[in-house]
Symmetry: C2
DNA sequence: ATCTGTGCAAATAGTTTGCATCCTC
DNA sequence: GAGGATGCAAACTATTTGCACAGAT
């Protein structure tokens, strides 16, 4: 069962009805393996009201089916929670390109911090900023 | 020489004049060891226009005297760049409290990623989310 | 005296809310 | 048929921009 199907089931279980807007947002997110902004979703789904996009994202977030990705402060992006597909991002400071990566050493280091911290850590984000190979080549 | 003095010198070197707004914003940031939002700065400096706060922060960021801290997506905070004072943050998902921490193991893991990545990594952010001891005590 | 820096107010951008209507159950 | 879901438009919040004037050099 792919992510979109699973998301629909979970929403149904949670007592939500299935309308057109929600279905389309979920399907779009399911097709996208990396982060998408709310406005991009809105742009790509002209028949869906902007408010519905935000409402759906909020519900999905609460059900832990998607999570927020902060990639610069201006805009917030969302991406689906793939079980076992935990990853972080590198963002190109020139062109804004977002590239996912994952690294066991990094996860271990973060776990170690969580173990000795006073906070009860439940989630973490890592964002590496730099210049992507493409932008690096073409000058500068 | 403290951070505020240094910041003023660097601005002067860069050809900026020293007006009242910039001075006050810089002094406030110098007194604050952790992140402050633009709006908080504006609130705490009633005689300074909001626009000047944002303009100053932008200039300071370009001169690498402050850097952005994304702590949840809604608001962006800024904090001074202390040479050698590199750190990250834990944010409490209940009360929003922001606590700085630093960890050599984490830094090492990130350096290792940078060494083998295709991106030329120039900066990184880590944000740990969880529940702070205070909120954890007073019942869930 | 010149030209940058500043404050104010208006403009923008992203997100949220109110509400009448549509559609699922 | 009832109540949640949706789209539209208006409200809000954070940030940016335009502009006349004050102030630094």
């Amino acid at each position: 069962m792919d992510w979109a199907e699973q998301a629909k089931s979970r929403l149904e279980e949670a007592g939500f009805r299935t309308g057109a807007a929600r279905r389309q947002v979920i399907e779009l997110l399911g097709d996208e393996s990396c982060a998408v902004t709310a406005l991009e979703i809105d742009r790509r789904l002209p028949r869906v009201g902007r408010a519905s996009v935000y409402r759906t994202l909020e519900q999905l977030e609460q059900l832990e089916l998607v999570h927020r990705v902060d990639v610069g402060g201006e805009v917030v992006a969302f991406e689906r929670n793939d079980p076992g597909g935990h990853h972080h991002h590198m963002v190109c400071v020139r062109c804004g390109r977002l590239v996912p990566f994952s690294d066991p050493g990094l996860e271990r280091a973060i776990e170690a911090i969580g173990a000795k911290a006073e906070f009860e850590i439940t989630a973490h984000d890592v964002l590496l900023r730099g210049v992507c190979p493409r932008c690096s080549e073409r000058g500068n």
